[in-house]
């Protein structure tokens, strides 16, 4: 991180965020001759120079495989890689760095859990998800269901787009649920779920709680101890970090009971053909050469958002979201999906007579990137009674001016298809 940004970062006012845009080289690109207005950060966020440089610098000056080398480059790279584990532990306020497991992405983390924690569940036990989950938090549990005779239960979502806690309680009532695995923030509706309350509910009925923090961790300070979660999952590329790196956090007491998932180098302590003995945590769950450069990039991303501070980030985002909701809802025939009391900067909408794909294409021709489709949440689409939506989602670099441009262009789209 260069000095100037470090200063900018120290305590940005709501306007100070504008200056942070300079840290993101891609934002000066044009698309179809128009300045890029990137409103698709919920799919994947842009990367600050600090992240790009951390990765380049690694490859330029200090790189080797980790853990197994006795030479300087390997030791230093191991230090850098393992140092990120400490950063992630601090980001989540995890009790121990050994509880941080690096995966390829959120999907990899949830699959690991579905296999390894799933193996500790008995036939006839249940896993509870919700109607609001990303496919990545649905399909691994379906596969567990089909593989191991685990029941899959689905908690309803209210018309406001919130988790139906009464229904969740019902699903837990018979005490057969071993795990509740729900999103901490919806990638479609922006709904932030009441994680601490869900944890109490789950624990009261003997179930553990996994939170899919893929979206939440970008927008909120997450404290897994305060939430009393048992597992927490996120993905680097949405947190301004690189692709190819994700995180599973889990309580030591649970991780220790779980068999490993992937087998290979680094996750064993001894190997003979008859039998292998597993390594200690966290290595038991990290097989093969890890995503070294990507972990280091993630570390730089964590440094970056923490230098800004989650208080400032959340205030900035609340401000943007309120502005966007006001502007969008003023458009005739535009319908915002969900209106949860606690929500973040992800807004899905439909527009009368205009299909989400056509909206996205027309916006794109004006340089504005939004997502259109089912957002990897087909069951939620069905619940909401839509086939697809357009979705605008904000990053720390998003400005009110960009939101205004979105609203103005949507008005033109509306007229075009009226």
């Amino acid at each position: 991180m260069n000095e100037m940004s470090a200063v900018t970062l120290a305590r940005p006012g709501l306007t100070g965020f504008e200056a942070l845009r300079d840290d993101f080289p891609i934002l000066s690109q044009t698309v179809h001759g128009k300045p890029l207005v990137f409103l698709d950060s919920a799919a994947s966020a842009m990367k600050p120079a600090q992240v790009i440089d951390a990765m380049s610098d690694t490859m330029r000056t200090q790189y080797a495989n980790v853990h197994r080398g006795l030479h300087w480059m390997s030791e230093r790279t191991t230090d850098a890689y393992e140092g990120v584990r400490d950063k992630v532990a601090r980001l989540l306020n995890a009790p121990s760095r050994d509880e941080i497991i690096f995966t390829q992405n959120s999907t990899g983390a949830i699959n690991l859990l579905a296999h390894s924690f799933g193996a500790t569940l008995a036939r006839g036990q249940a896993v509870v998800i919700s109607e609001m989950e990303h496919h990545s938090n649905i399909v691994p549990w379906q596969m567990l269901r089909d593989r191991a005779g685990i029941e899959l239960r689905v908690a309803r979502v209210t018309d406001a787009g919130e988790l139906d806690l009464d229904h969740l309680a019902e699903l837990l009532a018979d005490g057969r649920a071993g795990l509740v695995a729900v999103t901490h923030m919806s990638n479609v509706l922006g709904t932030v779920t009441p994680a601490a309350g869900i944890a109490r509910l789950a624990h009261a009925h003997g179930a553990k709680l996994m939170l899919d923090g893929s979206q939440a961790v970008v927008h909120r300070a997450v404290d897994v101890q305060a939430l009393d979660a048992d597992f927490y999952v996120f993905t680097g590329h949405k947190l301004y970090g690189p692709s190819g790196i994700g995180v599973l956090w889990g309580r030591t007491s649970l991780l220790e009971t779980m068999p490993p998932f992937l087998g290979g180098g680094d996750m064993i302590s001894t190997v003979s053909f008859e039998e292998s003995r597993w390594a200690e945590l966290p290595h038991r769950f990290e097989a093969g050469t890890p995503a070294i450069i990507e972990a280091i990039g993630l570390g730089a991303a964590i440094d970056y958002v923490q230098a800004i501070g989650f208080d400032a980030l959340q205030a900035h985002e609340a401000d943007l979201t309120a502005h966007a909701l006001a502007r969008l809802q003023a458009i005739e025939g535009l319908q915002v999906l969900g209106h949860a009391a606690d929500r973040g900067g992800v807004i899905s909408f439909t527009l009368e007579n205009a299909h989400a794909h056509d909206i996205a294409t027309l916006l794109d021709r004006n340089g504005i990137a939004v997502r259109a489709g089912n957002h990897c949440a087909e069951p939620l689409m069905r619940r909401l009674g839509v086939n697809s939506t357009a979705r605008a989602s904000f990053g720390l670099y998003t400005t009110k001016r960009e939101i205004d441009l979105l609203a103005e262009t949507l008005e033109q789209v509306r007229v075009f298809f009226a």
């Binding site: 179809h32 128009k34 007579n353 299909h355 989400a356 794909h357 294409t361 089912n374 075009f416 298809f417």
Partner: protein
Amino acid sequence: MQGPQATTADPMSDLYQQLIVERARAPHRAGVLEPADGGAEGDNPFCGDRVQVTVRLGADGGVAESRHRTRGCAICTASADLMAESVEGLQRPAIASLYERFGAMLQSGESGTTDSLGLLAAFRSLHEYRSRIRCATLPWTALLDAMSEAAGPGSGRKDT
């Protein structure tokens, strides 16, 4: 676009040609033939688009009539409609050839000179919108399935 600003002028004049927008708004060949000689559906789960195509064959085995019921974007709906119109009177080989030339145009952006694509040339600039090409081809896959059904061993009129 009727708006005073030029910002969306581009997409209107290239991708969303007047013909496409009109047919999306008020298709000429919407509906379901009952009875029909063949019928099939095409699905794009990614966006939930769905096209149902029914065909009635003439004495020569060619398409006498074709109708579509489309739940989809403007491109998909207009494509289904212009397809239904374009294939009337054509036999299967001619339809396959037309689809092939249509697909080639969607990839290259060139509509060719000899074998005219007729109204279908309206989709020429879709090649710049790669992720939208499937919207235009979905009705065609449904049509070909419908034709196969009509020609199939168990073929014959049925109520859809």
